[in-house]
């Protein structure tokens, strides 16, 4: 009897949670409206000039200057054609990022030309590689370890978007990124460490940290800047060295 009641209670809870995302969000909101919860990273976050500590990456011997130049050309192509840029650009752009935390996922929206990131809290494993079409942001699953949000991402597309990684190197289809998010200074600072592993690119895992400042709740995101891939003048600018009259 007890087991039936327990099972029924579990089913009921799951049903309520699944059909009441607002309730779940309000739970998170309640956490936010009381002093900033250490486990709620929702907010607008801005990266300023003193917000990064990026050491030089230790690259494998196979990553020669020619390889890096080739990768840089791919990145230039992505910019030239206004492609969505993906990681790492999304997290390092000068415009604020908008993080919204729900019960099932955390969404990171940007004001630049990068797809929204989804960090799934309701999954412990990645989508099967056979099924998942790699993307510029990859497939991200997240969990809390104490007051640290650990985000694990694979499934990157090595040929799309801006692949360059701060400090050196670039993302490939085999890249594995682990991020650790934690709030500092009473919730006014969001510290994120990024650790990239990719034996084809990095000799040792490459780690760097960004620290974002929280913007006021009343901040309103701005529209992204225009990007027209068919603008001939723009194309000329991006592909031809500047002509300077002597």
């Amino acid at each position: 009897m007890k087991s039936i009641v327990t099972a029924l209670a579990a089913v009921l809870t799951l049903t309520v949670t699944a059909t009441d995302p607002v309730g779940a969000q309000e739970g998170a909101d309640r956490n936010r409206s009381a002093a900033p919860s250490a486990r709620d990273i929702s907010g607008f976050w801005e990266l300023s000039i003193d917000g990064s500590n990026v050491p030089a990456a230790v690259l494998t011997p196979g990553i020669t200057k020619a390889v890096l130049d080739e990768q840089a050309k791919k990145d230039a192509h992505a910019i030239r054609w206004c492609n969505i840029l993906g990681l790492q650009h999304a997290m390092g752009s000068p415009r604020p990022i908008d993080i919204r935390q729900g019960a099932r996922m955390i969404v990171i929206a940007t004001e630049v030309n990068a797809a929204t990131r989804y960090l799934y809290l309701d999954r412990r494993t990645h989508i099967n590689r056979e099924e998942f079409d790699p993307t510029t942001n990859g497939d991200s699953i997240a969990r809390w370890e104490g007051n640290v949000l650990v985000v694990d991402t694979v499934g990157f597309d090595g040929n799309k978007g801006m692949t360059a990684i701060p400090g050196g190197g670039f993302r490939t289809a085999d890249s594995h990124l682990v991020e650790r998010y934690r709030l500092l200074n009473n919730g006014s600072i969001l510290a994120v460490t990024f650790t990239w592993e990719d034996p084809k690119v990095f000799r040792t895992p490459h780690t760097y940290e960004f620290r974002y400042h929280r913007l006021p709740q009343s901040y309103e995101p701005r529209p992204p800047l225009a990007c027209d891939p068919f603008d001939q003048e723009r194309t000329r600018f991006l592909t031809t060295p500047p002509q300077i009259p002597r």
Binding site: S48, D50, C82, S93, C227, I244
Partner: protein, 233 residues
């Protein structure tokens, strides 16, 4: 009669010139506005450095950058032109002011009312230098010397760094019906560059009604921040 006519004409000119906005309204080109540098707004070729520039010298300049950021020093040129947030450019009759939205980027003054630089014996070098400007047709040409070599962020996009002998010429031009501001930078400094190093930024005019958001002040005595910036991975 002739004397009366001769007297009246300058009076009319003076009356017209007394309005400080008249000069701006009358100016054929006005780069005033908020300007943002997008991800596709930079064309920066690699600089050709002088053979005398060693890795150790480059490393020394990088350490200046680290120190400037750690201690919230004013960053100066060229970083003022690319701090992340939009630039506020205001054009007057005597000068053009460029204000970056940053607690560490000093305001730039581009003087339209001077044709020569301040005498080197008089001018205390600064991170922004001494800038004089004039219009050549639709192009604003800004000439800057008098840089302070030890303060702020000295590194230049594409390679190299500013020194006391650096000479910067910028050319500002409005494109696409005034929605894009092209700025071409040319650094000349035989102690650093084999040939003058040029690159171009293209800023987009920010949307109408934009108001800068207050920025975070920089606290050099924040121990947590200091530890973050000084740590080695």
């Amino acid at each position: 009669m002739r004397k009366l006519a001769a007297a009246l004409l300058p009076v009319a000119a003076i009356l017209a010139g007394a309005d400080p906005l008249a000069a701006q309204t009358a100016a054929p080109h006005d780069i005033s506005g908020y300007w943002e540098l997008p991800v596709d707004g930079r064309f920066v070729p690699r600089a050709r450095l002088s053979p005398r520039i060693t890795p150790a010298m480059i490393e020394a300049e990088a350490r200046k950058t680290t120190k400037a950021i750690r201690w919230c020093n004013w960053v100066g040129m060229p970083t003022t032109m690319d701090v992340g947030r939009p630039l506020n450019i205001r054009q007057g009759a005597r000068e053009i002011v460029i204000m970056a939205e940053s607690p560490v980027a000093p305001v730039r003054h581009l003087y339209l009312n001077r044709k020569t630089h301040i005498d080197k014996d008089t001018f205390d070098p600064t991170t922004s230098g001494d800038s004089i400007a004039h219009w050549e047709g639709d192009t604003l040409v800004v000439d800057t010397t008098g840089f302070e070599p030890t303060k702020g962020i000295t590194e230049i996009p594409g390679g190299g760094f500013r020194t006391a002998s650096a000479h910067l010429v910028e050319r500002y031009r409005l494109l696409r019906n005034g929605t894009v501001l092209s700025v071409k930078f040319t650094w000349t400094d035989p102690s650093v560059f084999q040939t003058p190093h040029s690159y171009e930024f293209r800023y987009q005019r920010v949307e109408k009604g934009y108001e800068p958001w207050p920025y975070q002040l920089c606290d050099p005595f924040d121990q947590e921040r200091a530890a973050f910036l000084e740590q080695r991975q």
